[in-house]
Amino acid sequence: MSAREEMLGRIRGAVGKGRAPDAARAVDARLAAHQTNLIPARSQLAPEAKIALFETMAREASATLTRISASSDVPEAIARFLKQENLPSRVAMAPDSWLGGLGWEKQPLLSIRRGRAEPSDDVGVTVAFAAIAETGTLMLLSGPDTPTTLNLLPETSIVVLRASQVVGAYEEAWAQLRQVRNGEGGVVAMPRTVNFVTGPSRSADIEQQLQMGAHGPRRLHIVLVDE
């Protein structure tokens, strides 16, 4: 008997499911229903209040945030942020088509390379799939247009987010993912990674003293676009 069969046999024996013929069907139904459990009321708000909650929670997690009204202002907002913070203007950027079409040529001082981030990159710019107001959390998906390294390797991570992408709770974000990535047999086709990011990297492992920038980015800047 393989270790796997041995383990599963012990589990079946202990929970008494070995005899129930419809046990497997019950499990399938439980998984297929993907029902939500209790969701805290604090994120169940009207759209504008939800966005305000996201801003508050993201700032509380030590992210910085700029809110702008038009997507055509994204390049300028990013250039201004980098200048203000005295950061390099060399940027690694996600090859996402929406992001790419925002008019970067109007910011000639930014030198942009599209693709994954390398360990030598200082600034990474990418887009989010959704954002969760409850805790100020960004939900990022890996994919050809959004390499994960962009939000992990550079010391400064910039994420562009549309206001319409802000949801209240994690469960709402999962529901959206299920909708756009409905895979075989109704099971969500997960990307390689779904990254929930709440603020910049940190560690308190030396004398319980909180410090930013442990392994991931030291700064997380969110550009929130209304349209």
Partner: protein, 358 residues
């Protein structure tokens, strides 16, 4: 902590593989060749001077005269060294806070981002999980994740919560080429169907450690193995055998704080009490302790005898100890008097004083 549980690093080293811990706390204790003292803050017992000493001993290629006094300098040095290790590593091994049955995803939660770099940069990602980490759906994971960070560090949500499903896709620009999940049982399935199966709900947040007066007084290393505090006092006897760990369930005042703060509502005092019963039933405790308990139980069921015995003991011990008011040593109680004096009774038993005042 599953890797510590199975002694993975020692095994890899013995087989010519160089394992490098990437969580800052784990890295520090790896350099110091010691086990973790806390499941969330493994190097909580180390001060920054000791961290500096460990770094100087390990990072010998860096200038000797460099200043390593403050935490930010230490963090910056660790970040730089470990970044090189991430880039050079062939294989990344992570644990799993949850495994999702519905999608076959593994979930890792960190604040540093080490779990993400570990699985993104090397050619292969190996996940080491255990059977009790399986939850049915993504929605179920969301519910428990709400509890984890709050109970572990008081954060609303940890910085990085990552769901991984398979290796890099054909069109992806980054990510590992291979994704391999190892699911460990190591005694856990034996807990199913017993009253101890409630322990399988544990999400390793460490809240019970942080609130335990015994853990606070003796520290994590005193528990002798990977899992300290009340959760360890219940889990360790199951994983290594009660005969190897029979002191742990006894190292509790039963104040009940661990149960009160547990986000998964595990009745830790009840489970520790049950382990004490098992210790007695299986005759694992020393004969003297067992006889003493049997004698006490015999008397406690006979109130007249109990009162007489208590009065006699109070009088005799009171007379013997009148001069100093304490005993430096007592027969049958040397274990107790080895560390402190036993106060001499004042001559009357509590029950007789109580009866008189009533």
């Amino acid at each position: 902590m599953v890797a510590e549980e199975i002694g993975l690093n020692d095994y890899l080293e013995a087989n010519g593989v160089e394992p490098v811990e990437t969580d800052l706390g784990e890295y520090i204790i790896q350099l110091r060749h010691e086990p973790p003292s806390h499941i969330i803050a493994p190097a909580i017992h180390v001060n920054k001077e000791e961290v500096a000493d460990a770094f100087r001993a390990a990072h010998t290629h860096l200038p000797k005269e460099r200043v390593l006094e403050e935490a930010p300098t230490l963090l910056a040095e660790a970040r730089k060294i470990l970044r090189e290790k991430f880039v050079a590593a062939d294989v990344g091994i992570t644990g799993a806070n949850f495994l999702i049955a519905e999608t076959g995803s593994t979930v890792i939660v960190t604040n540093e981002g080490n779990g993400d770099l570990t699985q993104t940069l090397p050619k292969a990602h190996i996940v080491l999980g255990s059977i009790e980490k399986v939850v049915p759906t993504l929605e179920d994971a969301a519910t428990i994740l709400r509890l984890l960070a709050r109970s572990a560090t008081g954060q609303e949500f940890s910085v990085y919560t990552t769901f991984s499903t398979g290796p890099r896709r054909a069109e992806d620009a980054d990510g590992p080429g291979a994704f391999h999940v190892v699911i460990l049982d190591n005694g856990r399935s034996r807990m199913l169907g017993t009253e101890f199966q409630e322990m399988l709900r544990c999400i390793r947040c460490g809240a019970c450690l942080n609130h335990c007066p015994v853990y606070g007084a003796i520290g994590g290393h005193a528990y002798g193995w990977v899992y300290p505090g009340p959760m360890g006092a219940v889990l360790t006897p199951w994983l290594v055998g009660l005969e190897e760990a029979r002191d742990l369930p006894n190292a509790s005042t039963f104040c009940g704080k661990c149960e009160a703060v547990c986000p998964m509502r595990i009745p830790l005092p009840k489970l520790m009490r049950r382990l004490r019963e098992q210790e007695y039933e299986r005759k694992l405790s020393p004969p003297a302790a067992r006889w003493a308990i049997a004698l006490w139980a015999f008397a406690a069921r006979r109130p007249a005898l109990y009162r007489l015995g208590a009065s006699l003991a109070a009088q005799i011990l009171g007379a013997l100890g009148r001069r100093t008011g304490r005993f430096r040593t007592l027969p049958l109680a040397q274990g107790w008097t080895a560390g402190r004096d036993f106060p001499a009774p004042q001559g009357r038993s509590f029950q007789s004083l109580w009866a008189e005042r009533k």
